[in-house]
């Protein structure tokens, strides 16, 4: 999925919500809660859920690809709403096709697996961080470097897309990281 044409102009890092959406969320709250249980498992197809979700993207950054044509995207995805949501894809202004990955450390071996979506349960947050979950864009049209900024749009199953400007950080400047099991 490389369609930069899907990008929407939201102007803010937080998804726009109307009072109507919130009211609807309250009305459908019970049903949404039931949905949330099921959608804890990764599922990209849920398009009914998320009416009550209110996802925001915090502390997002991209990792300097060091001249390579793929870039990893990290963020804290916060769902303050009453129903679960899922991150389904990412686009950027530097191109690249989107995929979502998880890293797993098993018996000293680090593995990376593609996953269809990243669930963000209601009232909680999911951290995309080095050594854990991340979004990745491969086959970049333009290769950014540390110190630059890129424009990234996060697409969710239940919330309007969120556009954010992300700093590109050199891997040597990334604190923490390496999710320890």
């Amino acid at each position: 999925m490389s369609g930069s044409g899907r990008r929407r102009r939201s102007g803010t890092i937080r998804a726009g919500r109307s009072r109507a959406t919130v009211a609807l969320a309250v009305l459908t709250g019970l049903m949404a809660c039931l949905d949330a249980r099921e959608s804890r498992s990764v599922d990209a197809s849920g398009d009914r859920e998320g009416e009550g979700s209110a996802v925001s993207v915090e502390g997002a950054f991209a990792l300097d690809p060091l001249g390579g044509d793929r870039i990893a995207i990290y963020a804290n995805l916060v769902n303050a709403g009453s129903s679960s949501d899922t991150l389904v894809s990412i686009t950027t202004d530097v191109g690249g096709s989107s995929s979502l990955h998880e890293m797993a450390l098993e018996e000293g071996i680090m593995r990376m697996r593609p996953i269809p979506a990243i669930a963000i349960p209601a009232g909680s947050s999911v951290l995309l961080e080095p050594g854990g979950l991340h979004g990745m864009l491969e086959g970049l049209e333009r290769i950014p470097a540390a110190g630059q900024k890129i424009r990234v749009t996060f697409y969710f199953s239940g919330t309007a897309p969120i556009e954010a400007v992300l700093p590109v950080r050199h891997p040597g400047d990334v604190q923490g990281g390496h999710a320890h099991p």
Binding site: L63, A72, G108, I109, P114, P130
Partner: protein, 227 residues
Amino acid sequence: MTGGRPGHARLHDTAPFRRRWPPVRAVVGGLLTFLLGCAAPEEGSRLAIVSERLSATQHLQPYHMPVVTLTDQTGAPFELRARAAGKVTVLYFGYTQCPDVCPITMSRVARALSLLDEETRARVLAVFITVDPERDSPEEIGRWLGAMDPSIYGLTGSQEAVDDAVRQLGFLLPPLERPDSGWYEVAHPAALFLFTPELLGRYGYPHGDPTPEALAEDLRNLVTFDW
């Protein structure tokens, strides 16, 4: 040295050994510690002192530096044991398309190396070995390491040679299945290994994530130790 000690022969008398197992175990443990202490009293305590100073985890069963000849980023052959002998070696396995842990780990290695004085740096060998040699040509590794520290050796070779090097350290990687196009999974050992000049991997960071300052300090300690 082991013979002639009163009570030592009783270890072979299995029946009482089993019955009075816990106290006997304590006695055996004490005796072994005592004997080991006698064997190399200074060596043991010297090693314990340096180990205690390090941030790195000590491997009670040291790894042996793999016997392998690969190709560095300039295209020159690189015989790992010959090049590492007499140096403190930082060794990491990864791949250049690795999204985060590989560049983060190698960037930290690069930063740590930059913190060393010239004399210490000259006694440290930093080596990156790709586990995805088909995609990671010498040129590709050269570009990737060049963005961090070109003095780090980046090695590639045949898939068999790389897999064998990993296997010699006791890790079994899942086989790479490469579709004609698109994504494929690459697995690699997570650890950053530290080898002492006698080519023993006595220390390491299981998740490959020392801070540059901690790694630099560990390298200083290891370089100044008389192995």
